[in-house]
């Protein structure tokens, strides 16, 4: 399958898949909490309802920033699924995050301001590990191109266990799950209400949701890369790791940003960089 076809499929199908995953996530979470939970299609009902609502904005630029957030999320994902440059994907993702922060900071609410600050801190916590992951994935195929990484005929996760662990760790941040749902959480029960998304409503919030679904699929794609040598392993492994994220979400309290930054950098330094250095010398030695 050519890269561009899968990119188009991504643009069309990612919202559907992302929404479904969100629905299943909610159902599973509910079951873990011994609730019945909403129907699996609830995220879609929510999305359509949000779109139908009146567009109330608190700032002229807010919608522009949010569009940027969505667009760059799609750009990052499209590049990834087209088999493009992994580094570019990571930076496009970071750029989309900046747009979200700008959107939140353009409102005057102290909740969204603090949420925006925390989002920046979270990005700061994530970025080192993401870059290390990109470097790790580079080492075997000697290319940052996703299509070359996919073509590697070796189980990458065996070469990169530390990096996979580090990546999974920060994915909890990216997926906005406990213990790292600091800047915004799926439930508005935190001290800054819903943090970064407090001031978005109606269609604007729908855009944020949609972008989050695109992001989820991209993140799952990144996990898939580590098992890509065999799709029969990769698909269950990706699903399994996502389920593990849900489990972690349900067995942890929300931690503070200090703890988040310290621990994610520590893991990036020890598991991520350690793995990278060891692998580098192993490859140099000709294993």
């Amino acid at each position: 399958m050519s890269g561009w076809l899968s990119a188009i499929l991504y643009i069309l199908l990612a919202p559907v898949a992302g929404g479904l995953i969100a629905g299943i996530d909610r159902k599973l979470t509910a079951r873990m909490q011994r609730r019945i939970g909403p129907p699996i299609f609830q995220p879609f009902y929510d999305l359509f309802k949000l779109i139908d609502k009146e567009n109330v904005i608190v700032n002229l630029y807010q919608n522009l920033y949010l569009t940027g957030f969505l667009v760059f999320n799609i750009v990052a994902g499209t590049l990834f699924f087209a088999g493009g440059d992994l580094l570019l994907v990571i930076f496009a993702l970071a750029l989309s995050g900046i747009f979200l922060v700008l959107g939140a900071a353009s409102a005057t609410s102290p909740y969204s301001h603090i949420g925006a600050e925390r989002e920046l801190i979270q990005m700061m916590a994530c970025e080192p590990m993401l870059l290390i992951a990109a470097m790790g994935l580079y080492l075997l195929p000697h290319s940052f191109q996703v299509r070359d990484i996919l073509a590697v005929d070796k189980p990458l996760f065996l070469y990169l266990p530390g990096i996979l662990f580090g990546l999974l760790y920060i994915l909890t941040i990216k997926l906005r799950k406990s213990p790292f749902d600091l800047s915004t959480s799926h439930h508005a029960h935190q001290e800054i209400v819903k943090g970064i998304t407090t001031e978005f409503s109606g269609p604007a919030l729908a855009v944020v949701e949609l972008a989050h679904w695109y992001e989820t699929i991209l993140i799952l794609g990144m996990i898939y890369l580590f098992f890509a040598w065999n799709p029969w392993v990769a698909v269950p492994a990706t699903i399994g790791l996502y389920l593990a994220e849900i489990l972690v979400d349900n067995t942890n309290a929300r931690l503070t940003w200090r703890w988040t930054v310290t621990s994610s950098w520590l893991i990036a330094a020890v598991a991520g960089a350690g793995n990278l250095i060891v692998l580098f010398y192993f490859l140099k030695a000709g294993f």
Partner: protein, 359 residues
């Protein structure tokens, strides 16, 4: 660097849907000062006593609070009974104790859920409330109400519970207690929970005492004070050892409450064992004349009822000093210098029941 923001906290806030407003002056994420304002829903219930018959007023007293409702009704009755010199039949005393301890358990379980929600542990929240539901079912079976029990009256109780029913409840409580361990273990041992509770909201023993803290807030700071030691109702036969933790932080207050739940189960067991047979109420003649301060232990701490009668069917004064009212000065002390993410946790560790404070 001075980057001061004011974060409004409550009453329109998902973490604190209580009629209190806190202006949190924060510098980055550190709270410099918390400025409270209350009084949004002052109901003037204390004044209503001049209009209502003193027996009818039991129902008003019970509606002071929606969680510790039974003990409010019981406290009012107890104060009036003391003024009138009424001695209750023992079964009434035991039944009141039974309901009072049930309401303590359900209140503490509610609190556990809320604090779990405050630190973002949704699963714990849901499961705490699920267990609480079983307790409420027992309350419903025995009194007919879930929130407002309506079971206390001056001179006894309005309902009796058959001994067979009590035996059955004893068995149900045993299974509930076993289930509860799974949840309290998480509070005691889970790493992320400890991260959010330990060392947070320190209130030294001296401060707690000086500022007039009561209940688990005071006991969490190492001061053994439990109004149940006054020996009212069935507590005159049942020894209550105040539960004390000495860490002075949110974790200590949490542990006090958790251990109190088990203590309450134990008290209920003893109550059920020793439940005397006989009448549950006596006829009340005459009107109260005189005054009395009754002191009881609510889930949130010591509560004080003052009743002053004048020999007519209307009382001169009914005064209730709810535990939350006494715990607000310590709360402000704890909030100074804490981190923003800890604010909900600290506010919840006094178990605020602002509606209760706004009689």
């Amino acid at each position: 660097m001075s980057n001061r923001t004011i974060i409004p906290f409550g009453p329109q806030h998902p973490v604190l849907p209580e009629p209190i407003h806190l202006d949190l002056v924060v510098e980055d994420e550190r709270v410099i000062e918390a400025i409270p304002s209350f009084g949004f829903i002052h109901r003037g219930l204390e004044r209503l006593v001049e209009k209502k018959d003193f027996q009818e007023f039991t129902f008003v007293a019970e509606r002071v609070c929606g969680i510790c409702s039974f003990i409010h009704g019981m406290g009012y009755c107890q104060a009036v009974e003391r003024v009138m010199g009424i001695t209750l039949p023992p079964r009434a005393d035991y039944l009141r104790t039974f309901w009072a301890e049930l309401s303590r358990i359900h209140s503490h379980l509610l609190w556990m859920g809320l604090v779990a929600d405050a630190f973002g542990f949704e699963n714990l929240f849901m499961n705490s409330w699920r267990i609480r539901e079983n307790i409420l079912d027992i309350v419903e079976e025995t009194t007919g109400g879930r929130v407002i029990f309506g079971a206390a009256k001056i001179g006894g109780t309005r309902r009796d519970v058959t001994n067979d029913k009590l035996k059955e409840i004893g068995r149900t409580l045993k299974t509930i207690e076993a289930e509860l361990h799974a949840i309290t273990d998480v509070f005691e041992q889970d790493y992320s929970v400890q991260q959010r509770l330990r060392g947070i909201g320190i209130l030294s023993r001296e401060d707690a005492f000086d500022l007039g803290a009561v209940g688990p807030t005071l006991r969490g700071s190492g001061e053994p004070m439990d109004a149940r030691c006054e020996g009212y109702a069935a507590y005159r036969d049942i020894e209550v050892e105040p539960i004390v933790e000495s860490d002075c932080d949110s974790y200590a207050r949490c542990m006090v409450r958790i251990r109190e739940i088990y203590q309450s189960f134990d008290i209920i067991r003893q109550v059920l064992c020793r439940m005397p047979d006989g009448e549950t109420e006596i006829k009340v003649k005459g009107y109260p004349n005189g005054e009395h301060f009754a002191r009881l232990e609510q889930p949130r701490g010591e509560v004080l009822y003052y009743v002053k009668g004048n020999g007519t069917k209307h009382l001169d004064r009914f005064r209730v000093r709810t535990p939350t009212f006494a715990n607000i000065p310590p709360l402000l002390k704890m909030l100074q210098g804490c981190d923003l993410p800890d604010v909900p946790v600290i506010v919840l560790t006094i178990d605020p029941c602002i509606s209760c404070a706004e009689r």
